[in-house]
Subunit: 487 residues, 2 copies
């Protein structure tokens, strides 16, 4: 530890230092809501050289925070034309360190490849393209799906096995939820008297899910955070990146497709190549609603917005027979009820058919009440359905760390866990959250997750109705996707 570092650590005394960058260079791309929130967590828990910490961010809106924390601000927008030069300029030949990509509009694939070529570990929270892709009017829906790119990245990962650890898509979800999924399976195993050993390999985890009869899972989230400043007409308000939400909200809905499913949803399509763990729906995720369940609130509607975990979890938890055919795979998708202001904002955009001009992220200070409850809802097993996840109020978040609301802290603590795991596991090549040590990651993350709770429920998606309008239902198996889909 350098003197500078030691001095610094003393400032945030009382927090355990989980890992050290050993004097390497730390580059954080993007200083939006997640970039700002992760900064104090890095300060507390990662040993780094403050002189070698740079944040790349085109805006100077929050430059004062960087200044206050003594972090170098490189005020430049990364583009397809300049990103190689800028990054190489920050990492002289042969230097060590880490790239943490928390930006929008910077291509994750290109950035990860560059990091890998430079021998640098890397982490991001989303598989992001260069600008112009999300709303490109010349692209068909099928070209805007994630599955093909993901399969390509899996091939790249195989080719590059053993290089510097690059974690793709690791925040709260995608990221943390993959770890919660494993912990949830262990709890369910215990609670149902399952007598098998704790899984060690991917195949063993998948078999545990199969043995427990888990037909599928929702990434079931309810964000109840509210401010007392009413959203303005035409203003898009969210508790995290506005661009992030409407970019992914207007992509086609994609979801992991379980082996128990009998029938494709309307406008649903399978893939004719690769392992086929997912399907896509030719409708925006932000207009594709499912019935889901979360503690506190109970039944609610959620958006099937495409997310990496909707593909990575079913892929990971597939049990194959000797011919490579899927014997078992869970259905898996996001079922997201964002904060009320975001619900209204999405509704407004659908009406105006224009991207919003005014954008606002609710700060921790503006939020007067509410929490973000984010977990996995495992269904179809012997105990019906079980939600396991983090229930973090904004009030708690404010006490735990500065610069972020509850939603932010769930993401930034996931990034922190990934950084620690990367340092502890330096030569894993390109990996997904599902392949990481869930217990170690949650150990790092849990102090920031509020109450981590497990709830069983006898709810099913066909349990209640207030009207008797006709709907397509499968009464034999309540856990069919047909029953979850709100038509």
């Amino acid at each position: 530890m350098s003197n500078q570092t030691r001095q610094f650590k003393e400032k945030v005394a009382g927090y355990p230092v989980h890992a050290s960058l050993d004097g390497g260079i730390l580059v954080l791309i993007g200083f939006g809501s997640i970039g700002r929130g992760v900064l104090p967590l890095i300060e507390r828990h990662i040993d780094y050289d403050p002189a070698k910490f740079t944040v790349i961010e085109p805006s100077d809106e929050f430059a004062h925070i960087l200044k206050k924390h003594g972090v170098r601000h490189l005020q430049v927008a990364l583009t397809e034309a300049n990103y190689v030069d800028v990054i190489k300029g920050l990492f002289p030949d042969g230097s060590k360190g880490m790239i943490v990509n928390l930006s929008v509009d910077v291509d994750s694939g290109d950035m990860m490849e560059l990091a890998h070529n430079l021998g640098l570990p890397y982490v991001d929270t989303v598989y992001e393209p260069w600008p112009g892709w999300y709303f490109n009017p010349d692209m068909e829906s099928i070209e805007r799906c994630s599955y093909p790119d993901r399969e390509e990245l899996k091939n790249t990962a195989k080719e590059r096995e053993g290089g510097p650890t690059c974690v793709t898509c690791c925040g709260a979800n995608p990221g943390m939820v993959s770890w919660l999924m494993k912990e949830a399976l262990l709890i369910l195993a215990k609670d149902t008297g399952y007598e098998g050993a704790t899984p060690k390999t991917r195949d063993e985890w998948a078999r545990l899910a199969m043995d427990l009869g888990v037909k599928g899972l929702h990434i079931a989230e309810r964000d109840t955070q509210v401010s007392n400043r009413p959203k303005g007409v035409g203003e898009f308000v969210n508790t995290w990146s506005v661009d992030g939400l409407f970019n992914e909200g207007f992509l086609p809905a994609e979801l992991g497709w379980g082996t128990h499913e009998k029938k494709l949803p309307p406008h649903g399509h399978k893939w004719d190549f690769g392992p086929g763990y997912a399907i896509w729906i030719d409708k925006p995720g932000g207009e594709t609603l499912v019935r889901t369940w979360v503690p506190g609130v109970g039944p609610q509607l959620g958006f099937v917005i495409v997310h990496e975990e909707s593909l990575s979890i079913p892929d990971y938890f597939t049990v194959e027979d000797d011919d490579g055919k899927a014997l078992y795979r869970p259905t898996c998708h996001y079922a997201y009820h964002p904060c009320n202001d975001a619900i209204l904002s999405m509704h407004e955009i659908r009406g105006t058919c224009q991207l919003p001009e005014k954008k606002h992220i609710l700060t921790a200070e503006e939020i007067v009440s509410g929490s973000d409850d984010l977990g996995v809802l495992l269904y179809g097993h012997a105990k019906g359905a079980m939600w396991y996840g983090t229930r973090l109020s904004n009030d708690e978040a404010v006490k735990l760390a500065p610069y972020q609301n509850a939603t932010g802290l769930q993401v930034t603590s996931g990034v922190l866990a990934a950084m620690v795991w990367i340092i502890e596991n330096p030569n894993q090549g390109i990996v997904w959250a599902d392949q990481m040590d869930h217990a170690r990651c949650l150990e790092v993350q849990k102090p920031y997750l509020g109450r981590v709770e497990c709830h069983y429920t006898d709810w099913t998606p066909i349990a209640h109705r207030i009207t008797n309008f006709p709907e397509e239902r499968d009464e034999e198996d309540p856990w069919q996707f047909t029953n979850f889909l709100a038509k």
Copy 2:
């Protein structure tokens, strides 16, 4: 004028007294948001005997207001079993007066029949059933449609022609919007150089709409009223009756069906009896969204919630050939964007599949900004689309009259206009707003409508998209219902 009345009128000096009840008995049923709001308007503009004014209301929540205004409070809930006795008890044999029904859960048909039998004029704002009808699980969607009951009431109206004037469904909408429709046609005629005479009969009005090429109209409303108290989880918040909104919001969508329409919407059904001016959709109106346009906001989504005017306007504006076949009829439906809290409340109910336990109507004092913009959007004519209606901010409403927000005042002033017209036209039998003198009614109402504005727009429902997801479109005729429907 009795001494008492004169004394009272002096209290509200400065307001024109439009009509006199001539010492008759005034009975107002229901003292909810509309009942409370209409009270000061009656005080100002109708000459009545305070000793003969009774409000029937089971709750004592707002009894203090009645006391303050010197109105007798009969605290009883009207039921199918007691309503005849209660009403007869208030109107001794042969007495004159008026019944103003502003309640929920009191059957409008039964009450109107009783009024008519007693020789009493009557007005209500909605065709309401006795309790248990809206969410009766044993009823099919088709049994919960309005068209059959409306056709029956039209037959009753024919049988009872010339009796005491009973106005069915007359507030803002249904009610005022039928008058705005006529005024809008006259403006459009003038602005397009139409040279015909001002219509005097129903047939002439219908021919004017046909001659102007009006393919259809939306009752296009945007309620932007907001409070700075965030809606609680599980709480249903609205700017008017909560029960009113979710009761009608979960009825099948019904709409007037224009002669230009080429294709029924999904789950759409025609009627096999009667004049067939309407269709019904086997989906709740609160889940049936259309693209529409309002001034200030521009394009937005609205609910096709069933409303009397969606049926009465196309019925009234039908041009028939000599064989009684429809030559021309406009499409007509509600396209309602309620206040943001109501949007959230409806979304929540769809998720919980339970009726809300907590209900709240935003008072004028709680609302910190916003307005209710409610008008007719006439489309398909030579000038594209034209919105004509009332834009009333809550701030203005507060200055104009007590006990109500902007939404309330648009309704209560419609009730006032109906009361005045009824007194002036005592023997018209059962009538709809379309049959009333729109000019006289708007004359009474306009002082309470804020800005009454006319806006032309080049917007069409196929004008803008931010994504290119596949959708059914009719490019040849932008004004087909297919194009309005948001899939």
